[in-house]
């Protein structure tokens, strides 16, 4: 299994996690030798915490395996960018391929882990991260729907509560969905949730919580929380 279940050192659970701590936690949970795609935005930060001894190979959906860190100064090359169109570098063992091959790799289930941001995740693992459904918005989807359904494990990273205090893990997504039943873990500032198959149903389980009690967490979520 490409997922590590225990951390060498878990963060302090009395406070909610910072964005950096969250990225570090996700990075530590990725098993050695995994092939991983890090989505645009917050998930990109995970790469800062991957350790060389983990031997993680990063995929970018615009046609590359073995992506290195962001390019600096003279390294910048407009032909070498990631899915966020940021100039990057290549590592020994890199390979390039065309878009159909790259998305076949994703859709065919060959990536071990993909880490995505989200607007909402439902308790059974539906993901909403591509559109707020605002009537005047210009829609754009990119590779979000392919990432959502492709990898063996789909990790979401987000804050547990929106600015107005409403939870972003919900009984059913109210934002337009990106994929159904695809999320396997939700990493948030207030806790890590696993979504697993249980007697034919996908359900959400709290793995650990940060800066909030289990009771308060349960009271603020609109569905039954399993432990």
């Amino acid at each position: 299994m490409p997922i590590r279940e225990t951390l060498p050192s878990r963060p302090d659970t009395s406070e909610r996690l910072s964005r950096e701590q969250l990225a570090e936690l996700v990075a530590a949970d990725i098993a050695p030798s995994s092939y991983v795609n890090l989505g645009i935005g917050q998930p990109t930060k995970v790469s800062d915490y991957l350790k060389p001894e983990q031997k993680i190979t990063l995929h970018t959906e615009n046609g590359m395996l073995g992506m290195g860190p962001a390019a600096q100064g003279d390294q910048v090359d407009e032909d070498l960018i990631n899915a966020g169109k940021i100039p990057v570098t290549e590592l020994p063992g890199t390979s390039y391929f065309h878009h159909a091959d790259s998305f076949s790799m994703m859709r065919g289930g060959h990536l071990d882990v993909c880490v995505l941001g989200a607007f909402q995740v439902s308790a059974n693992g539906d993901l909403a991260n591509w559109s707020t459904g605002a009537p005047d918005a210009i829609p754009a989807v990119g590779g979000a729907m392919d990432l959502a359904i492709g990898a063996k494990e789909v990790f979401v990273m987000m804050s547990l509560f929106a600015r107005d205090g409403t939870p972003k893990i919900v009984p059913e997504c109210t934002y337009p969905v990106t994929g159904l039943g695809c999320v396997t873990r939700v990493y948030t500032d207030h806790g890590v949730f696993l979504i697993t198959e249980h007697e034919g149903e996908r359900r959400l389980k709290l793995r650990e919580h940060y800066g909030i009690t289990r009771e308060e967490l349960a009271s603020r979520l609109d569905f039954d929380l399993h432990y």
Binding site: E78, A83, D146
Partner: protein
């Protein structure tokens, strides 16, 4: 048969009004900028364009859209920080948008080149982008039926061509080039260098010459490439 055009203008001279144009590139990487400039100059209009994006900044595809020469765009990610020309046309209701998940876009182009009539893909199932489409459960997984995307013309960019049209690309600028080359009735490539047949290692050819109709040689210095990069990158 692969022919070499003297200029970018010659290369795109036969593009007709109302054509469907497959346009390579992911952002600026692999975008056949000089061919698009020539298309702009040439005047062809009422185009349907298939590209991953909907143009960025004030160059290439963005200018075609600004001049209202594109009646419809099929793409995965139109909205970017610098997609102002598309944004304006779209809000004015002056461009039609068909939004396609990026992997389905690539696979539909691949299907067109490969003679596949339609295919069942899991991507997009249960989402707004699959509304009204045929679906089917196969071995416990839900799929959406998607159809090929063919072009009248493809405009792509590669690093080198040999005289027979065999192509090699450079890094992530490869992106949609190979699938678009095979999906269009007429494929035009701009390359930095044209080399004699036999100069490319046959094991390393990415796009065989059978897919290439017209080659335009547009030399670009690596320095310019890096500089252009530094100046024009924008967050997806």
């Amino acid at each position: 048969m692969t022919q070499t055009a003297k200029t970018a203008a010659d290369a795109v001279a036969d593009v007709q009004d109302g054509s469907t144009i497959l346009m390579g590139g992911f952002g600026n990487a692999g975008q056949p900028m000089e061919l698009i400039d020539a298309l702009l100059e040439g005047g062809a209009t009422d185009l349907t364009v298939i590209n991953n994006n909907a143009g960025q900044g004030d160059a290439g595809l963005a200018l075609l859209i600004k001049e209202r020469r594109v009646q419809k765009i099929i793409c995965s990610f139109p909205r970017q920080s610098d997609s102002w020309h598309f944004d304006e046309a779209y809000r004015a209701g002056e461009i039609e948008l068909e939004l396609v998940p990026q992997g389905n876009l690539a696979e539909r182009l691949r299907a067109a080149g490969a003679g596949i009539g339609a295919f069942f893909t899991p991507t997009g199932y249960g989402t707004e982008l699959a509304e009204g489409k045929e679906t089917r459960e196969i071995d416990g997984i839900n799929y959406v039926l998607e159809y090929p995307l063919r072009g009248d013309v493809a405009l792509i960019k590669a690093l080198k061509a040999d005289e027979q049209g065999n192509l090699v690309y450079r890094k992530t600028a490869r992106n949609f080039g190979p699938v678009m080359a095979a999906a269009a009735a007429h494929t035009i490539v701009q390359v930095e260098e044209l080399v004699p047949a036999g100069s490319l290692d046959p094991e390393t050819v990415v796009t065989p010459g059978i897919y290439i109709d017209t080659i335009a040689v547009i030399p670009t210095a690596s320095g310019q490439r890096a500089q252009a990069g530094a100046a024009s990158f924008s967050r997806k």
